[in-house]
Amino acid sequence: MAQTFWDDVSEGQEITLTEPTSSQRLVIWAAASGDFYQIHYDDNFAKGNNLPDIIVHGALKGMLVGRLLDEFVGDKGWIENWGVSYRGMDKAREDMTIWGKVTKKYQEGGKNLVDLDVGVRQVNGTETTPGRATVSLPKK
C-alpha cells in the first residue's frame, strides 16, 4: 500500500472511497459485528417497521470511515481517533461515498498530526454520517 507522508499533505486535501451496499455485504457485516437486527437484511421486516428498504448498519459506516483513514495513513501512520454521528439512514443497494477533508496539519507532542472532517454521502449528496478524525503520519 502506498505510504502517505506528513510533508505531502495539505489543508483542504480530500480523500474518498465509493462503496456499494448490497444486501450480501450487510449480511457479511452482520456476521462480522454480531448485529443481526433484521432491518438490515430482511426486506419484509424492514418494511413492516416503516422503513423504505433495508438500511445500512451505522457501525459499518463508522468502520468504512476507519478504512478510509487506514488507507490514508498507510502501514507507517496511525489513526489517533475518529468519530462519527449517525444522523440519517442510508438505504441499502445504493453506492455511498466515504470522504475525508484535511482541516489542519500540525506538530504536537513529537507527532506529525493531521485533523480531518469525515463523513458518508449518499448518491444524491445528502450527508448522513458527519464526524472528525486525527491521524499521525511519518515525516520524510
Binding site: 462480522a32 457501525a59 463508522g62 468502520m63 476507519g66 487506514d70 489517533e80 475518529w82 462519527v84
Partner: protein, 157 residues
C-alpha cells in the same frame, strides 16, 4: 409512545459513572477476515498472517476498530447493562468514536468494561428520547495493556 419522563429516575442517575461487568472478547483469524471483507479492506496484512509478519507484525493484524466478538452465552438472561428500567424500548445507534492505542492481533483476548458516562432526556422528531453516552475500555488480558477506548451514543425512544 412510552410515558413521558419529567426527569431521569433515581436508578438512571445512580447508573451514571458506574462501570458495567467485564465482557470477554475473542479476536480470531476468522473474525478479522470477516470484518476485513465486510469493510472492503484490500491490504493483505488483514487476511494473511504471513503478510502481517512480513510487515513486522507478530500475527494476523486486526483492522482499526476491530476488537473481536463477545463470547456468546445462550443461557444469559439479561444483557450486559440492565442497571435501570427504561420506558423507551426502541433503540438507535447515535454515533461511534474510536481511539486505537495498541495493535490488536488474532489470538488476543480482550476484557471490555463499559461505563455509562452521561445520560440525558431530550426531545427530537421521534418524541422524547433518552440519550446514553458510554465509554468502553478494551484491555488485553495477556499483557494488561489498554488497546483502545471507544465512545458510543445510544438513542432510546
Amino acid at each position: 409512545m412510552p410515558d413521558e419522563l419529567p426527569d431521569l429516575t433515581p436508578e438512571m442517575k445512580a447508573a451514571i459513572g458506574k462501570p458495567g461487568a467485564s465482557v470477554t472478547y475473542e479476536v480470531t483469524t476468522l473474525g478479522i477476515r470477516t470484518f476485513g471483507r465486510a469493510v472492503g479492506y484490500k491490504n493483505p496484512i488483514y487476511f494473511d498472517a504471513a503478510a502481517s509478519k512480513a510487515a513486522g507484525h507478530k500475527d494476523l493484524l486486526a483492522p482499526p476498530g476491530y476488537f473481536g466478538m463477545p463470547v456468546f452465552n445462550p443461557n444469559a438472561t439479561t444483557g450486559p447493562r440492565a442497571d435501570f428500567e427504561s420506558p423507551f424500548k426502541r433503540n438507535l445507534n447515535g454515533g461511534t468514536e474510536v481511539s486505537p492505542m495498541e495493535q490488536v492481533y488474532a489470538g488476543d483476548v480482550l476484557e471490555a468494561v463499559t461505563t455509562l458516562v452521561d445520560l440525558k432526556l431530550d426531545r427530537g422528531r421521534l418524541g422524547q428520547m433518552l440519550i446514553r453516552t458510554s465509554e468502553t475500555v478494551y484491555t488485553r488480558k495477556a499483557d494488561g495493556k489498554v488497546v483502545a477506548k471507544t465512545r458510543g451514543t445510544g438513542l432510546s425512544y
